[in-house]
Amino acid sequence: MYPNKRKLSAAYIKKTATVSAVILIIIFLGIFAVFWNIQIINNEYFRRLAIRNITRSIDLMAPRGLIVDRKGVILSENKINFTLYLVRENVVDMGKTMRLAGFFAAKKNDAIRKIIARYKKYPQFYRIPIKSNLARSTVILIESRQDEFPEFEIGIEPTRTYVFDNCAAHVLGYISEITEAELNQQEWKGYVMGDFIGRSGIEKQYEPYLQGVKGNQIVIKDNLEKIQKIESKINPVIGATVVLTLDLELQKFIEGLFADRSGAVGVLDLQTGGLLAMVSKPDFNPEIFSQEMEKEQWLALSNDPQKPLQNKFLQGIYSPGSVFKIIMALAGLQEKAISLDTTVYCSGSQDFYGRVFHCWNPNGHGTVNIFSALQNSCNIFFYNLGKRLDIDTIARYARMMGLGSTSGIDMANENTGLVPSSAWKMQVSKQRWFPGETISVAIGHGSLNVTPVQMLKMIATVALRGRMPRLHLLQRIEKAGQTIREFTPEFSRVPIDEQNFQVVIEGLFRVVNNEGTGRAAKIAGLDICGKTGTSQIIAKENPNYKMLTKEKRFMPNSWFVSFAPKENPRLAMVVLVENGGDAGAIAAPLSALIYKKYFENERLL
């Protein structure tokens, strides 16, 4: 049609076509090679990335094991809690995310930044817990608008709760989040940031048992983090159940008796060495530690002069006062420094080493022997006994009866108290021991310091005529209905003759039942043996003694250590009322009420 229009040579056209064909072939071979490389050679690599894109592995928190009393009443369990999580990988605009997090969690941005900073070593897809115990309304808001907040997730997890609030707070202890420093320690291997660990009490002591086994869930998610389906799920396993020797009813009863007084009580089952009650007052609600605590709340608790966080039963250090006379009597009898025939005349005061020492009764007790000395808690008798024994002998017997060392009860952070000796004084003050100091120690004063648990162990050993029980709170640990650990009672022998215990027990019986200092503890039908102790906080020699003791905080501490019945004893008890005043008027009657409650409940009275 238009032959004249073509000027290009046929050869040029052919050459162009050939070159084009060659270029085409090279290009397409190249494309095939590249796709072969990506799809076939690197298939495995990309396949893994694709799976990683859509799958999320989510740890499922295991509920902690239950803590129950001897009758199976649940003291500590778990409740449902909503936790707000942040996933950094899905953050689009950090500024917006921070604002939202602050709004959802009702926290300051600094606080949230600090939380996130703790997880900087964790991968970007790790779920960072921002806030637990999220309000339901916030949960609903986030869940219903998940598309808008892909960086936030709501986790439904168990959290610790204490059924009877403050009850037995010091026994149960509390849990709180693990710290960064702890994560680096060998002890906490396998734990991750965000885990909770037992900090005190049973929660700490039996942490490995109470801690359950975490579960895991693998879910399929789309690019907006919407869960499309659950791929696989391993359910978490609840921790083991810890059964305590504690009797909740008795515990609650004693806590009620104490009302707003401060002090400590321990009630021991003499047949097993298990504690039926362990009270420390004032107390706190352990649940506040499993949640996020406000700084003010923490300061209020830790700065309270009555020390609610301290377990006074194990950690409180007190002068034993006249309670120590039990040990003095045992030492004197065993060392044959006194016999049943030994008598001392008490005129109300006596001079030792050029200094006048007083009996608590200024009128004096007249002629006293070991029985009446214990019964009326006569200081003069024990001053004389102290003079006959030297300080190191006294210290040896005190240690024998469990003073100056931890009791070995299954709880951490116990105090040892202090048993003075000549070697101790030389070490501490580079001075020799003065015999005059022994006189004070003989009635439980001076540098002597004890904890209530030591007093309980001591009186229990007296009750059992020299068989010293091992104290414990754990009865057994159960896992899936099987007992995996059980406490078997243990007793050790104290090298003091049984007849000497019989003498002291007779004296302690008279304290309660023969118009002694502990007569307020007397109950019809139950042979209670006990010893009062009124330990001064201010020395009687202080010129301002009368005036100062009008102030509650300078009033003496009241002790009553006791056991019952006299023959085949079942129960030992220590009651300490801080600043309680005269022991016979406060600690002894409180003890009587506790005995009554227990023996009536057990239908033994």
Partner: protein, 356 residues
């Protein structure tokens, strides 16, 4: 008429239909998670394109070349108008309402421009400064207008004509060297003053995809994961986790290759590419009646090949994501229609070759 049917390249035509059909098939999968009906729209566009194809095919070649420049001018006016009164869609003004249907006019520049350039190219033996400028100007004007839309993809594709001119014509070396240097300077200036942050991001993220995981580089990573995880035979139609759980962005246009790569595997991707190869390969084997036919065939096919290559390179992270679709396969009615118009002219040139 009987001859028309006899010499009509039925095989290539069938391959083009096949490409578009497989595109609709893939667009269905791409729109599946969000229940989009783009595949239906694309099917309608295909039918319309076929009608237009035969209309254009029935025209005389002379007529087509004669009127190409007028059509080109009309399109330039429309593009200029769009800049002032643009209908904004997906961040670009390039979509224009046309009787209730969104039309992307920049796409329609491709064919008239190729025709006009082909005509111009026949006028010079040796290309020196003056001639080179005369050839560049008709490219530069629409490129400039389309950049203002802004549509980086189409304007970039139009620049492929410059490359093709250089390959097809004898050009003074001095002209080449100087214009290369000018291009370099223009590129640097454009980077610093011309490009918006959004456009810069696209290019930066191509250079360092991992650093911009939540931004545009993320798209390239997800696309590579999709293709690579497809393996030999794919994860199955509608079963690709990357596309069905929407990790793949703009699946129906820019990343349609990733959809087939993931769901249908290397085998089917290779078949798709092979169809393209055959279509291209069959475009050289005939005698030309005129020089302008020759130049048009090379310019038009060169453009398709260029666009094909850029799209595929984009999907595997060899090229920045510029919004360039896969010819015939990706969703986009204007693009499809434009290519079928071009093909109609190619088919017409081919058949003239036999009928004379």
């Amino acid at each position: 008429m009987k001859d028309y049917f006899k010499y009509f390249d039925k095989f290539t035509f069938a391959l083009l239909i096949l490409l578009t059909m497989s595109g609709i098939f893939l667009i269905y999968s791409a729109g599946f998670p969000l229940k989009e009906s783009n595949y239906l729209k694309q099917a309608v566009w295909l039918l319309f394109s076929l009608v237009v194809f035969f209309v254009i095919f029935s025209l005389k070649i002379d007529f087509i070349f004669r009127n190409a420049f007028a059509v080109y001018l009309v399109l330039l006016v429309i593009l200029a108008l769009q800049i002032f009164v643009g209908h904004i869609s997906a961040g670009t003004k390039s979509w224009f309402r046309l009787g209730g249907v969104n039309a992307q006019f920049s796409e329609f520049v491709k064919v008239p421009l190729a025709l006009y350039l082909a005509k111009l190219m026949t006028r010079f033996e040796l290309v020196s400064w003056k001639e080179f400028f005369k050839l560049l100007l008709p490219i530069a004007i629409p490129v400039f207008l389309i950049i203002l839309q802004p549509d980086m993809g189409v304007s970039f594709i139009l620049c492929s004509f410059i490359l093709l001119i250089i390959l097809l014509k004898k050009i003074k070396p001095a002209v080449l060297i100087v214009s290369f240097l000018l291009l370099l300077i223009a590129g640097l200036a454009g980077w610093n003053y011309g490009l918006s942050n959004y456009q810069k991001n696209r290019i930066i993220s191509f250079l360092n995809p991992m650093k911009y995981k939540t931004s545009i580089g993320y798209q390239v990573i997800q696309s590579k994961i999709a293709i690579g995880s497809g393996g030999l035979s794919g994860k199955g139609y509608l079963k690709g986790s990357q596309s069905q759980y929407q990790f793949l962005p703009v699946r129906h246009t820019d990343f349609i290759v990733s959809v087939i790569g993931e769901e249908l595997g290397f085998i089917n991707t290779a078949i798709l590419f092979f169809i393209f190869f055959v279509v291209f390969y069959r475009q050289f084997k005939f005698n030309f009646q005129s020089d302008e036919e020759f130049y048009f065939i090379y310019l038009f096919n060169g453009l398709i090949l260029f666009q094909f290559l850029i799209n595929v390179a984009m999907a595997i992270g060899f090229f920045p994501v510029l919004g360039i679709s896969l010819p015939f396969v990706s969703y986009g009615g204007s693009s499809l229609l434009s290519f079928f118009i071009g093909e109609a002219i190619v088919f017409r040139i081919k058949i003239n070759n036999y009928l004379t």
